[in-house]
Symmetry: C4
Subunit: 180 residues, 4 copies
């Protein structure tokens, strides 16, 4: 695994909930429109397994996005992401409510975002993460930037960081090796 500063590892150790934006994070930011009025989004298989491994070890996940689409609902359902907030204009307030209902604090969450509306939540989150394709301003406020761009496995990289920091990543590997 790439070298990661101790400070980031320490933050990752505390994470009980990983929240992320959709466009530019779970996707590359491409919005496909068809001539019949349909929309298409491209997710990535790598992120899916990372989210599943977090769930296996009791770490929760949430989606917070400014847009609304059927595709996000479908992907979230497939991955058993219990908290899905679409059409969200104020991501920080949304997260505050979620925390209030979950007995969690900002230090317990990691958040991955790529553009200006993500900055307030990135600043408050215990671990604020952005992606290489993110806006320059977002990079200034994030604790950490993934190597992989959005839609190519960026969220998996954050999942791996959290799993590694909490000692679960090798356990996941061993479970897979032993089960077979």
């Amino acid at each position: 695994m790439r070298f990661i500063r101790d400070e980031i590892i320490e933050k990752a150790k505390q994470i009980k909930l990983l929240a992320f934006d959709v466009d530019g994070v779970l996707t590359s930011g491409q919005l496909f429109y068809t001539s019949q009025g349909q929309e298409i989004k491209a997710f990535n298989i790598l992120d899916g397994l990372g989210i599943q491994l977090l769930h296996d070890h009791g770490i929760k996940t949430a989606i917070i996005t400014g847009r609304e689409s059927e595709m996000v609902a479908q992907r979230a359902s497939e991955l058993n992401i219990s908290h899905v907030f679409q059409g969200c204009q104020d991501k920080l307030s949304t997260m505050q409510e979620l925390l209030d209902n979950s007995c969690l604090e900002f230090a317990d969450i990691a958040y991955v975002g790529d553009d200006l509306p993500d900055i307030p939540l990135i600043r408050q989150a215990g671990l604020g993460v952005t992606v290489p394709n993110g806006h320059l301003f977002v990079k200034k406020y994030a604790d950490w930037c993934t190597l992989t761009s959005g839609g190519n496995g960026a969220v998996r990289e954050v999942c791996d960081l959290i799993l590694e920091a909490q000692g679960f990543l090798l356990l996941s590997l061993e479970a897979i090796l032993e089960s077979q």
Copy 2:
């Protein structure tokens, strides 16, 4: 922000309207065709917020494209782009008419294009911009070339340049930080 020559900043300060081509600028230039006769275009989330921020600060936007599609109409409507010219064969005349009706001059507009038919308008525009994936000839006539390629946030880069030159970019950030 990347280093930008003073001359470009000066031009960007004057811009009251940002116009852009679609294929190769707002998209990567890919034209998706389906076996049932549908067409698909892939826009980018980053451009959307840039256009919205321009509108917030009173800078208008326009689309001028040689092709015609439902997808462009839909995306333009979603982003509240008031001036949309599709199937346009003579982009310079179209812009001339738009300027006549808007009490604007060529020095007041920026235009982003990627291929030969864009050159006349790029030459006349106060700020003529192209993209890395643009034709070599277009690059010779453009004042500026974005770092990001079309469909990956090139238009956002021009929005940021204009916002920055006019002192609005940090204001946008502060508005977001304070509203939450």
Copy 3:
């Protein structure tokens, strides 16, 4: 324009017909399948204008592909490509027939292909071209390899080479500049 060997320029001067493969040349090689049995191909806007400029200057174009799809028929029709051979198993024989009917010789044609079945035609063509994403063996037999990969404007690059060699490229630019 990039440096091009005299030998290639000489070959390009003779070209009266540009033929090309589809998958990997006019597209990136991606074959999109939908869960409802549709297929999708992604063409590129840059290639379209190049083909149109060739036609403007009396140079013909042809598609020769081993697969069959509605999308190719649609794109070819849109671009007025008169010779379209789909489901073609022996590309060299197909071209031989086309030449016989057109009073052309192999020295008069350029052909762009990316994989083993393209090699016989690439060897016979006056100008045999491949793409960076083409198979290693094809590169050994091609006279020239584009800088741009298939689906990103590779065919446009060949169009520009032919137009430039025959003195038409600057004419095209001047026509555009003067018409507006």
Copy 4:
């Protein structure tokens, strides 16, 4: 062809069956979802010809994937891949059964995978292969990693390795050159 260690060539000489994962291997890992509930996958033309060449020389192929989709069934049918295991939770057991029914041993198979669930089979396979976009852990267990990423011709690279090691690649080329 790139330099390949003798040990890998030796392993490739023994291969009678090439099996591979789908998402991240036969595709880039992108999962396209439409607003009408359809799914889309993007395969690559290069892999198709490689699989066909393997079949021509009596080497079998198999798909083993954890997900289920119509698109994989369609592509597999088109390419005459006789063994297709979708929705597979334990890839090693699935392969064991296939071997039992085929009078083959693990030393006779190559397997290409990209993520943790592929590791047990990659370890057992005579030739365990991964892709540049694969997970770091997978790379530690694989004998070989392709240069091309999944969905861009990674499987073709493995086909070529096997064909080359068994002396079939130049034969394929000669057959194509002579038949025309």
